[in-house]
Amino acid sequence: MKTDFSTRLLFIRILFILAGAAILLQIVHLQTSASASDLRKLGELYSYKRELVYPERGYIYDRYGRLLAGNEQVYEVGVNLSEMRGQNNAQSIASVVSTVLDMDYNEVYGNLTNPKNPEAVYVVLKNYVSLEKGNRLKSIQNEYEKYIAEMGSAKSQSAPPNLRGLELAPHLQRSYPENNLASNILGFYTRNNEAVMGIESKYNDLLEGSPVEVVVSIDPNQIEEIPTIPSGASLILTIDREIQAEMENIIDRAVKSSGSISGTLLVYDPETGEFLAMASNPRMNPNEYWDYLDMKHFNRSVDYPFEPGSVFKVLTMAAALDNGTVQPDTPFVDTGVIEVGGLKIYNWDRSAWGPQTMLGCMQHSLNVCLSWVALQVGADNFYSYLKAFGIGRRTNVDLAGESLWPLAVPGDGNWYESSLATNSFGQGLSTTPVQLVTAVGAIANDGVMMAPHVLLGFVENGKQYNTKPQVVGTPIKKETAQILTGMLTISLEEEASDALVEGYRVAGKTGTAEIAIPGKGYVTNMTNASFIGWGPSDDPKFVVYIWLEEPKTAPWGSVVAAPVFSQVVEKLVVLMDIPPDDVRLGLRAQ
């Protein structure tokens, strides 16, 4: 009996020892076999998950800290199919979701019962659902649960209605609280995480921050804190929202009343190179960017070079005065025509204006006179001045999509002797509004040209970094700038221009450029009407440029654009706290 027991005990011992040895052998085998590393990786797959954490996209503010672009919470509405099948509630989900989210019931039901991928365990019904609608769905879901709890266990009934399996995953999407205000400056950020045009594109690296890949342990014993990912930098623009809004109202009205194809209005600080407003019509609502994808020009201020016309005479006269070729009172007898390089140049009204001074030439915008002035300056000097004013090269303004029209100069294949004359009054060459404003800004700023920009500063990692105004050149002398400003102030006053503003002396010049049509040449009744002006004349605080494309009511800049300048200045002096000249000079004397 005892022997039997001992034998059995021995047998059990051997069995355990063998089993232990087998386990040990298998452990050693697993650790050292050829597929050990693969097995280890397979194990890690179930231990950790790698997540790419995107920081929140930085905000965009106007110069006084008012939000222009932020982020709002939205939901991705989806269904956990296995849970839904367990509850047999596809009809309930389809019914509620289609009602709340304005979707077709059959389509939703079809997606749930016959998903495109038969092996799918989760289907997305709709993404970017607003917070309001998402919360409504949550509320209905909770009401169902409450009802089920009151009625007893859900499983006790055959199929009580419920929304189990319906999941709402919150996330952020780009939002523009001002809708279409300054949209041509901001650009937009798509749902595919693409920054398109404007500030969004230009400063995308700053705004998006640095995505960080983190390893998250699934084992709760090994969970570590996910590192704080700093959000993208927030940008502060030079744009003043109030000025921008007023300018957009003004240009919208001007485009409508003149029947123009488009309108552009810039307000620029000549002392710093900051744009206070950059209004554009038409413009988009970046919250619904998909409705505007066929827009030809997103921001005409930077992406549409065109022949500026007579406003360009300001630069021609600046070159001539600075060069010493002419003085404000230099006489010129206008015969109504001048021939340059075989091309006859006429005045805008094709008439002869007789004896004039340079002041009169600018006041009456005489093409013949300005052609003569350019000839006196000489081609080499003239184009040197234009280059100094930045014509023919990009301004490098910090907005995406800046276009360039190369300046043809003597020696180029597309430059002719007559080009000197036509260029003198802004035909035969092209500039963008930003180029022109930057160049004329030098005249308003005592000859010093500033780098145009729209970024005032940015906030990154809890610190604010402000940009500093940069001088990009001094194309003309201070005296020249002041003389020319004086000339253009008097010319407006003597002409009794519609651009004048009571109580404020301003300088400015109208522009009416004929538009060249391929195959037809210049067409007289199709023009670009414009006005560039600055003020107050004795201490300019703003440069304003208005461009109306192909106005229908009248082709002339003096008729359609000059009155807009007056409206703009009336608003600007209030918004920029600029007192009337007599008050300002009186206060300065105190």
Binding site: G65, L456, P580
Partner: protein, 157 residues
Amino acid sequence: MAQGFIQAYRQAPWRIQIQRIGSILLLMVVAALVAGVYLSISAQSSAIGVEIQVLENNRENMQREIANLKNQIGVLTSAVEMEKRAKEMGFEKVTTYDMEYMLVPGYPGRQTAMLAPFSGTEAANRQVSNPGFTTSLWDWLARGVNYLSEQTDEVLP
């Protein structure tokens, strides 16, 4: 003699068995204690791990909520909304003819947004408490001695 001595003091077999059983039980108790402590710590660690996950989720939710609230403030204070509200309250847009200007000495004009301390400035680290609260007794004595010696130097011929 020696044999008799050993016999006299040999443990009774039942005592040896009890000792062995006691030792095994002691080992088992120790093992159970170690296992218990391990399980307890492991459970606490897991609970804290889950809590960290919950807190991280909360943090993400709050960040989204903050972003959303900022956006809502942006919508409520947008140019169009503010103008609408101002009109409803009876305000009118001012024109240059309605304005009266006065000189305010020292007023620098409207300043641009400062959303964070400027880079390069030490505003964030600036000491706001009275230095007296952080000065050590030794520093106070040294400063006093320095002050006295400076006073003495000044009166010396």
